[in-house]
Amino acid sequence: MKCEDLLRTLNDYVDGEIDPGVCDDFAEHLQGCNPCQIVVDTIRKTVSLYKNEQVYEVPLEFRTRMHDALRDRWQETHCGA
């Protein structure tokens, strides 16, 4: 497998959706290619950063406003207030 081939199957490998035979070729290529290994690692880190919801902050003013609105609506629908 050459670097070009690896790029084409990169997503499937990172997502664990690659055919086992291709996976073996991929892993073998990575063992001998430091740049590709770094690219795979940093792709994984990139996806992980964006998946980590703790990075995001809901603006405090909006959060307070939203929770108040939800509580009011709950009381209207559940207590007939």
Binding site: I38, D41, Y50, V55, M66
Partner: protein, 198 residues
Amino acid sequence: MLVTRAKAGDYEAFDELVSRHERRLYALSLGIVRDQADAEEVVQSTFLSALEHLDGFREEAAFGTWVSRIATHAALKIIRKRRGLETVPYQEEPGDDEQDTPHPEYIADWRGDPAEITERHELRKLLDEAIASLPENYRLVFVLRDVSGLSVAETAQELGLTEANVKVRLMRARLALREKLTRAFGDESTRVVPDHTH
């Protein structure tokens, strides 16, 4: 189970559900609509909808999955309205998915944990700038797949694309974001020059 208690009339349980999912919904919404006011509108309307339809929630999927789908629909509706295209799906731009695979240029290990390297708000700013730099057709696929957690098939259905389109755009989005973030976090001393003949 929080959902069971909320359905039984326990508001504190519903409030806890909101608290557990609001960050992810906000991130997902902001990633799609790219406007704070619109993202807030999406998140609030999503939880209001969840509140009003809680009795009908069959719990076949997780609560988080359910509200993610509601938020995704609401956010995409805003985008379509902006473009004046209420029902037209996201047509691929001609030849867009046929271009050569972009090659990584800046290849370097990331020094340490990015969250430790930068203050959290600086990290958010970097992530935000990077995702804002993506063309909309790549950004939407990335947000639906990697932030919202939709499958390839679900992402394709939401955006009116083929699964092949989704895979190509996702790869381009991930490579573009990786490139940008490596320029911020990369350890120059580990930088390697790509050999495109290898």
